[in-house]
Amino acid sequence: MSAKSTTSSPAQPAKSQRTLFQRIFEPKDIKSLSPARLVMTYSILIFWSFVVLFPLYWLLVTSFKLPIHVSDGPVYLPFIDFEPSSHAWSYIFFDLGNDTFRPYMNSLIIAFASTVLAVLFGSMAAYALTRITYRPKIMSIVAFIVILAAVVVATIAAGIPWQIGLAVGAALFVLFLLNLAKHFKRALGNNDILFWIISQRILPPVVAVLPIYVMFQQVGLLDTHFALIVVYMAVNLPIVVWLMRDFFATIPIDLEESAELDGASRFRIFLTIVMPLAKPGLAATFLLVLILSWNEYLLALFLSTADAQTMPLLVAAQNATRGPQWWYMSVLIMIMILPVIAMTGLLQRFITRGLLIGAVKG
């Protein structure tokens, strides 16, 4: 074997030049493969498609099964193994009726609203972190907190409404900031801010679920869309900032400087130059965050009971006292994946088109 490979090696310099990484992740054009390898490639692809698609298929057939078909052990083929029935579908759509549609609408509203907001604010934050250098002085942050607390306490003690105290505190802070900042060198940089943002996701959001619950209880916003939208947005912001920052960093600064000289404001540069160029990144991030919000269970469990109940809760509710109702769950899951598939289809063309940048070097 060794003799053969050494003699044939000069004939295939191209192959040896490709690193293992390239050979795995940048495969050759499939049309140029030899028949044997073509068959093998397709076998592997078909096998993997089967692995991926089979659960979906099983969901589909299960949604048409009677309870007896499920409890009697696995059957796979409708009309041959079992007689399909639409009882589960009619139960979900007609018997439950509004109890299905309301969570469905809730899920749509909450997931889309929180995703749009998270992507909007997150990408603005990410852009600012890539392009603007922040140097908040540590001492001024400390001073801010101390002064604010002192003023609020003092005004409450003096019987002045706390809003006024807050305003006075903020005004004093601005005055103090300018003086204090001059004297203390230690400052936080962009990377510290970024790390602080990311650190919000080092522990899962669960750890904060009780405080969040109490907060919303206090302001009487439990079981509202607003509560879930705000919480989902906050929970997903760090992910958006983290992902989008990398996309913005790849946009050549020349483009923005050129626009600046042409007379564009920062916000206009962001809207007309940066955002269009970051479209693939935006689409990918949007999809990821959408799926995260769409599937979120635990926070929804705490923050919603009836009016704002979301789909994951409804699905879980089918695992009730009578044991898991697989057929109802299957129907719910089938209708639950539709919007995600639709969004993926819509956004896919942005994602696969890739970044336009790089194609414009002289």
Partner: protein, 353 residues
């Protein structure tokens, strides 16, 4: 519009990269900033544009002090080395972007776009995207975008450096023509001396953040202010010989040049350009040496001779040929010899002038 820099300085951290630049650019002038890589040309240009804040000094546009004015209020257009075309916009939208920002209405904008596109020969490409254009076409889009709003100042940072030699020559001509036609004050950065010589009304030569000489191209060539300028301008580079001046003559190994009027000086560098020398018979002429290499460049022959321990290049016509190693004499065809102080590089001049 007139541009003035007054003692402009810029430091990045502890390193000062522009060290007190004083520069006046007249209205309508084409000024070229020339210097080796890393000497601070781009930094100086970016300070004029406002993309970089000056550590010290003032910048004036016309009468106005713009040192602390934001770039977008300076009415300056810049052509970047990378062209900085917006990849997601067509050529038309790229060119029209400055007008779009100024809320010029659609029909007027379209008319203006067609007018400048016509000037740079891009009318057939208005629907294309930058990635579908060649380097030269992209460069012209960048130019058109800079021209469309008639700025009071053009800044260009090596706009031709990404083009191949032939296109560069062509675009140079176009650029010069356009600038002359529009009459817009232009500051142009390059490290290519041919570009500087052909384009500029005046050339500012920089080295390590300091201005060396500011003069029209011809004067830079014929009357360099110091050793650096003399060696930087000209191709092949000026010949230098180390020696001394005493009693009205420069002496070095194998060379003796009369220099009436110069005071005695121990450590002198003499500079002569290749075209001011001719090969003559051995023992004739001011310099004595042996041929070292002979290169035919097309319409002329460059003859390198060893004189003492320096190499001297002589430009001869294309028919000249000689064996390598032959002893030859070299004579000056005119008295264009420059003397510099070897330590400071300062030009030495005759005492009576």
């Amino acid at each position: 519009m007139q541009v003035s820099l007054r003692d402009i300085r810029k430091s990045f951290g502890a390193i000062e990269v522009v060290k007190g630049l004083d520069l006046d650019v007249a209205d309508g002038e084409f000024l070229v900033l020339l210097g080796p890589s890393g000497c601070g040309k781009t930094t100086a240009l970016r300070m004029i544009a406002g993309l970089e804040t000056a550590s010290a000094g003032r910048i004036y546009l016309g009468e106005q002090d713009v040192t602390d004015v934001l770039p977008k209020y300076r009415d300056i257009a810049m052509v970047f080395q990378s062209y900085a075309l917006y990849p997601h916009m067509t050529v038309e939208d790229n060119i029209g972007y400055p007008l779009y920002l100024r809320k010029v209405d659609k029909t007027e904008r379209a008319r203006a776009i067609r007018e400048v596109a016509g000037k740079v020969d891009l009318l057939d490409y208005l629907d294309r995207y930058p990635r579908q254009l060649s380097g030269g076409q992209r460069q012209r889009v960048a130019l058109a975008r800079a021209m469309i709003r008639r700025p009071s100042l053009f800044l260009m940072d090596e706009p031709l450096s990404n083009l191949d030699a032939k296109l560069r020559g062509h675009m140079r001509t176009e650029l010069k023509h356009l600038q002359n036609e529009l009459g817009v004050t232009t500051v142009y950065v390059t490290h290519d001396q041919i570009e500087a010589m052909t384009l500029a009304h005046r050339v500012a030569i920089m080295k390590a953040g300091e201005l060396q000489q500011l003069a029209p191209p011809r004067e830079i060539y014929n009357d360099p202010a110091n050793l650096f300028v003399a060696g930087f301008i000209g191709s092949p580079p000026m010949n230098f010989m180390n020696g001394e001046i005493s009693s009205g003559a420069f002496r070095a190994d194998g060379a003796e040049l009369t220099c009436p009027g110069f005071g005695d000086h121990a450590n002198v560098v003499a500079g002569v350009r290749a075209e001011d020398l001719r090969i003559v018979e051995a023992n004739a002429g001011e310099l004595q040496g042996t041929t070292y290499a002979i290169e035919l460049t097309g319409n002329e022959t460059l003859v390198t001779c060893q004189v003492g321990d320096s190499l001297v290049i002589v430009k001869m016509d294309k028919d000249y040929d000689e064996k390598i190693g032959t002893a030859v004499g070299i004579s000056l065809t005119n008295q264009q010899v420059f003397f510099f102080d070897a330590e400071s590089g300062v030009r030495l001049r005759p005492l009576d002038s």
